[in-house]
Each structure stands twice: as structure tokens, then as C-alpha cells.
């Protein structure tokens, strides 16, 4: 039996775990806020209808929370075992946010979660509502710290590399927490969860309408979810634009892959709809340059003139580099200190990276020998070239190109579904105002169909973010090949099978219990 490489299997395992984990997380975050809004209505109106409605959605929240809780811990196991070089290299920068997240989640959830579920008639209404809002805030805060850690990998800042320990050490906590990439990523991801939660509420409510049950409950749930979802979606689209802007400045290869852009020009257009030419393979750039040059990047495309220039540079007539331009260098990018620099060719970055990695080795040899002058010189070389450190592990420039097809199509799936949800929320509000939502069957079917679609949209967004930054675990500083540690491929394969079985069982349990609860409906 031929096994894929350890690195590929570890990536597959991580992706599988993260994608399963992300099935549960956004619904917890999104439903948390919707429940808190519903309970606020209850407190303000005193109408028991709202208590019943809140309690029902709280049950859906609890099922999802219980099944999903701790599934993220498996990702942390993987950091320690499969990615131990990476885990060591990132040091406390990754550890600190994860530790804060763990402590916050534990205290907020163990205290206020209990009040939220057990305290209905035992604490006063204000205290109960406060607990519900705090549980919701807790889930959002947990996401905040995780996304800070993720954003740092996309745009490493606020740290210094210590050659004595081979660790990046945090020197500016606020630079990490308030990094524009982190703030944008946090808002984008959390509003995505809000939209997902809203659509799940609408979808389940549509099921009741379709079966002519719980009309008032469903219509009012739909009303809250559609307004909340629409507002969240507007912010989501705005931060989506921010994500593309930051990618253009800090991860230009990701943006080029999102667009399937190989050779660019000033006034770069944006591909609205397109089909990539599968024969356009960047690896042929050297092997068979004539065939490569003859192949057009798209079989079909409709482009918005100047669109990408506006998206990435906020200015028409500007240049956004394509894949080949990035390989050749000469374009402007923002380094981790926030300075605008002209990028050298990837081959040059590979040379500089090897100088940095060689200097790390020299420094430590000199340290053992007690040669302070050699240590000083090696450290200077390392610091000067540290921005290119990860390129030391790149053997061929084309290795820095991610899977263009996957990123290109995932990006379009995300954007097209996002645009569709905008229309869907608008339609929902229109039908609700008109009072025909209860008898518009096609809309009710559409509402139910939107549940799987919103999950696909959300997962596609993560594919763009994570596959788009390949081969980097930490942008420009550490590729996946250098992050992995020596565990056997067969051991990874065994755990992939175990994870798949475990997560499928959890998902089946969640779906089964939810269907039972939905069929039963809100309790009297």
C-alpha cells in the first residue's frame, strides 16, 4: 500500500478536524446572539410567548454545543504531535491566546451556562438575561482569541525570533491583538457565524410553516433572524472586502490564486464568473515553457474592468501582481513591520532564507563553542534575512503557489452564495412584511435548502483562507514541510480513520437528536 507523505496526511487530518469543528462552532456563536435577542424581548414585553420561543432555540443551541464542545481540542493534540516543530517555533504567541480562550471559556461557560439552563425560575429575569448574553459573549470571545492566533499565522507581527531557543517571542501583545488582519478576520468570521445561525433559524422555522405548525412562533423567529442575518451579512461583505485588501497587501499569492491570475497588468480586472483552464499548470513554466505560454488561464470568464485594482489597492489603474509576477518579484507588498517593500524574486528569497537558516545554525554552533564574535555576526545575518526564513525550505519557486483551482472555485462558491443570501434575506423581510410567508411554499422549501448551502458557503470561506496561504504555516517564516514532526504516516492514517468515525458519529447524533426535537416542536 502506498501512503501519502506524512506532511500531506497531517494536513488532511488537520483539515478534516478543522472542518468538522467548524460545523458546530458557527451555529453556537450565531444562535447564542439570537437566543439573547429573543430573551431580551421576553424581558421587555413580559409575554410568555417569548420565553417559550427562547427556550426552544436554547434547546437547539444546547444540542449543538454539547456535541461540538471540545472537538477543537483535537486540533491542539495535532499541534503537539504532528506539528511539534511549528508548535515550538511559535512559542507563547500561539500559546497565550489559546490559554486565555481556554480559561475564559471554562469560567464563562461553566457559570453562566448553568444559570442560562437551570436558572429560569431560580434567579430573577434580569440575572437570567445577563447570563444568556454572557454565554453568547463568551462564545464570541473564545472565537476572538482563536482568530487572533490564526491571523498571526497569516500576518506574523509583534514578535522577535530568539535564536537561542528557536522560538518567536511576543514583544508587543497589542500589536498581535490589534493587527488589522486579526480584527478584520474576527469580524468576518463572527458575522459569518451570525449569518449561519440566522439561516438555520429561518430554515427550521420554514419546516414548521411547511407542515402548518407553530405559525406565530415560526414567523416571529424568522423576523428576528432575517433582520439580524441581513445586518450581519452587510458587515460580512464589508469585511470580506477587507480580507481581500489585506491579502493583496500581505499575502499577494493568495489573492492571485483566488483570481486565477497568472500575468497581470495595470488596471487589473476582477473575474466575476470564470472557468479555469485545467491545462494551465504553473509547474510547466520550466518543463515546457512553450506549451505553458500557449495555454490561456481561463476557458471562459466575465471580468469587471479595474475590479481587482480597486479591491486590492483601492485605486483604478494600479497593478495587482499575478502568480508569475510574484515568482519574478518587483511588486510592492507590506512586510510584517507594516513597511511597504519591493518583493525580490522567489529564487532570491530562497537564497536569503537559506542565509537566515544557515545563520541560525552558525549562531548555535558558535554559542556552544563560546565564540561571541561569531554569534554576533550570525545573529546580524539572521535578523537581516529573517523575513525570508521560511524560503530556506522551498526547493523550487513554484512550491509557493497554492492549489489555484481549489482556491479559485472555493472563492466563487463563497461569494456567489453570499450574494444569494443577501437576496434571500431581502426576500424574507419582504414576504414577512407582506404577511404571505406562511403560505408561500416555494419560499419555505428554499428556506430549508439554505441550511446546507450556508454551511457550504462558510466552509468555502475557510478553504480560501487556509488553502490560499499554502505552503505557509506561518506566512513566509515556516512552510508546512518544516512545521511537521516525525510521526509515521501509518499512525496519522489510523487517526484520520478514527477521527472520521468519531466525527461522523457525532454529526449523526446531532442530526438525530435535532430532528427529534424539531419534530416535537416548542413545548407548551
Amino acid at each position: 500500500m502506498i501512503l501519502a507523505s506524512f506532511v500531506d496526511l497531517s494536513r488532511l487530518q488537520f483539515a478534516l478536524t478543522a472542518m468538522f469543528h467548524w460545523i458546530f462552532v458557527p451555529l453556537t456563536i450565531g444562535l447564542g446572539v439570537i437566543i439573547a435577542i429573543m430573551e431580551t424581548y421576553y424581558l421587555r414585553t413580559g409575554n410568555p410567548f417569548w420565553k417559550r420561543t427562547t427556550k426552544y432555540w436554547m434547546k437547539i443551541f444546547a444540542i449543538n454545543f454539547a456535541i461540538g464542545v471540545a472537538t477543537g481540542i483535537i486540533l491542539e493534540f495535532q499541534f503537539g504531535t504532528n506539528w511539534s516543530n511549528y508548535a515550538w517555533f511559535v512559542g507563547d504567541i500561539f500559546g497565550a491566546p489559546l490559554a486565555i480562550e481556554g480559561i475564559l471559556a471554562f469560567f464563562l461557560e461553566s457559570t453562566f451556562f448553568a444559570i442560562m439552563f437551570f436558572g429560569w425560575d431560580k434567579v430573577n429575569k434580569n440575572m437570567h438575561l445577563l447570563s444568556t448574553w454572557l454565554v453568547s459573549a463568551g462564545t464570541i470571545l473564545s472565537a476572538f482569541w482563536i482568530l487572533i492566533a490564526n491571523a498571526w499565522m497569516q500576518f506574523p507581527t509583534g514578535m522577535e525570533f530568539n535564536p537561542d531557543t528557536a522560538r518567536n517571542e511576543m514583544v508587543d501583545f497589542w500589536a498581535i491583538v490589534t493587527s488589522p488582519v486579526a480584527i478584520n478576520k474576527f469580524i468576518h468570521t463572527v458575522t459569518n457565524a451570525f449569518v449561519l445561525g440566522s439561516i438555520v433559524v429561518i430554515g427550521i422555522s420554514c419546516w414548521y410553516l411547511l407542515h402548518k405548525r407553530e405559525e406565530e412562533f415560526s414567523r416571529r423567529s424568522i423576523k428576528i433572524a432575517s433582520v439580524f442575518g441581513l445586518v450581519s451579512l452587510v458587515v460580512l461583505i464589508w469585511t470580506g472586502d477587507g480580507s481581500a485588501y489585506h491579502a493583496g497587501k500581505k499575502q499577494p499569492m493568495k489573492l492571485a490564486a483566488m483570481e486565477g491570475l497568472y500575468k497581470s497588468r495595470e488596471g487589473t480586472p476582477l473575474v466575476a464568473i470564470g472557468i479555469l483552464n485545467p491545462r494551465k499548470d504553473i509547474r510547466k513554466i520550466k518543463e515546457d515553457s512553450l506549451t505553458y505560454k500557449l495555454e490561456k488561464p481561463y476557458l471562459f470568464n466575465i471580468s469587471v474592468p479595474e475590479g481587482l485594482s480597486l479591491l486590492a489597492n483601492r485605486k483604478t489603474g494600479t497593478f495587482v501582481p499575478g502568480i508569475e509576477d510574484i515568482l519574478k518579484g518587483g511588486y510592492t507588498y507590506t512586510n510584517r513591520n507594516g513597511e511597504e517593500k519591493t518583493a525580490p524574486p522567489v529564487e532570491e528569497r530562497m537564497r536569503l532564507g537559506r542565509m537566515a537558516a544557515g545563520a541560525l545554525s552558525d549562531y548555535n554552533k558558535a554559542r556552544i563553542a563560546g565564540d561571541t564574535l561569531r554569534m554576533k555576526n550570525a545573529r546580524a545575518v539572521l535578523e537581516e534575512n529573517y523575513d525570508h526564513f521560511g524560503y530556506a525550505y522551498i526547493n523550487d519557486p513554484v512550491e509557493v503557489v497554492p492549489n489555484v483551482q481549489l482556491v479559485f472555485y472555493a472563492f466563487r462558491v463563497m461569494v456567489i452564495l453570499g450574494g444569494f443570501f443577501l437576496l434571500f434575506f431581502g426576500l424574507t423581510i419582504y414576504l414577512e412584511k407582506k404577511g404571505t410567508i406562511g403560505r408561500t411554499k416555494w419560499y419555505q422549501y428554499l428556506g430549508i435548502a439554505c441550511i446546507p448551502l450556508v454551511y457550504i458557503c462558510s466552509q468555502a470561506g475557510w478553504i480560501v483562507a487556509e488553502v490560499g496561504r499554502q505552503p505557509w504555516t506561518i506566512q513566509d517564516l515556516l512552510p508546512v514541510s518544516a512545521s511537521a514532526s516525525g510521526v509515521s504516516s501509518s499512525a496519522v492514517l489510523t487517526t484520520i480513520i478514527l477521527f472520521f468515525a468519531l466525527f461522523t458519529a457525532l454529526l449523526a447524533a446531532e442530526t438525530g437528536i435535532m430532528i427529534k426535537v424539531i419534530r416535537k416542536g416548542p413545548e407548551a
Partner: protein, 72 residues
């Protein structure tokens, strides 16, 4: 007074857990899941590759070697 606060908290949780209906099924799922994760996966499959190194210095040296070896 202190004793009564602790007793009230205890009763709050105790009665809450006792009155759960669907929650009992969910707790069973949570416990089975945590058992699989911590006693099967963590114990047998996710061992720390740096566990054999006793000091932080040894761990650092190992990672520096790893990073140097992986560079071609």
C-alpha cells in the same frame, strides 16, 4: 452564611442536573466523546515527540537541528 451559599449553589446544580431530560443524553455523548479523546486518542496516538528531552535547552537544540536538517 458561607455554608448556606455553598449549599444553595450545590442545590442549584444538583436540581438542575436532576431535572434534565434531553440533557442526560447529551451528557452521555459528552462523556463518551471526552473518554475517546483523552483516554484513547491522546494516550495512544498523540504523544509529545519532545517528551524524551528533559530540559528546554535540549528541546531547543532538537528543533534547531530539525530546522537545519530540513533545509536543503
Amino acid at each position: 452564611m458561607k455554608g448556606s451559599v455553598i449549599k444553595r449553589i450545590w442545590l442549584f446544580y444538583y436540581e438542575g442536573f436532576r431535572s434534565m431530560t434531553l440533557g442526560k443524553t447529551l451528557w452521555v455523548i459528552i462523556l463518551i466523546k471526552l473518554f475517546i479523546m483523552f483516554f484513547v486518542l491522546k494516550l495512544f496516538f498523540f504523544k509529545d515527540p519532545l517528551r524524551d528531552f528533559k530540559t528546554e535547552e535540549e528541546k531547543s537544540r532538537h528543533i534547531i537541528n530539525e530546522l537545519t536538517i530540513k533545509q536543503k
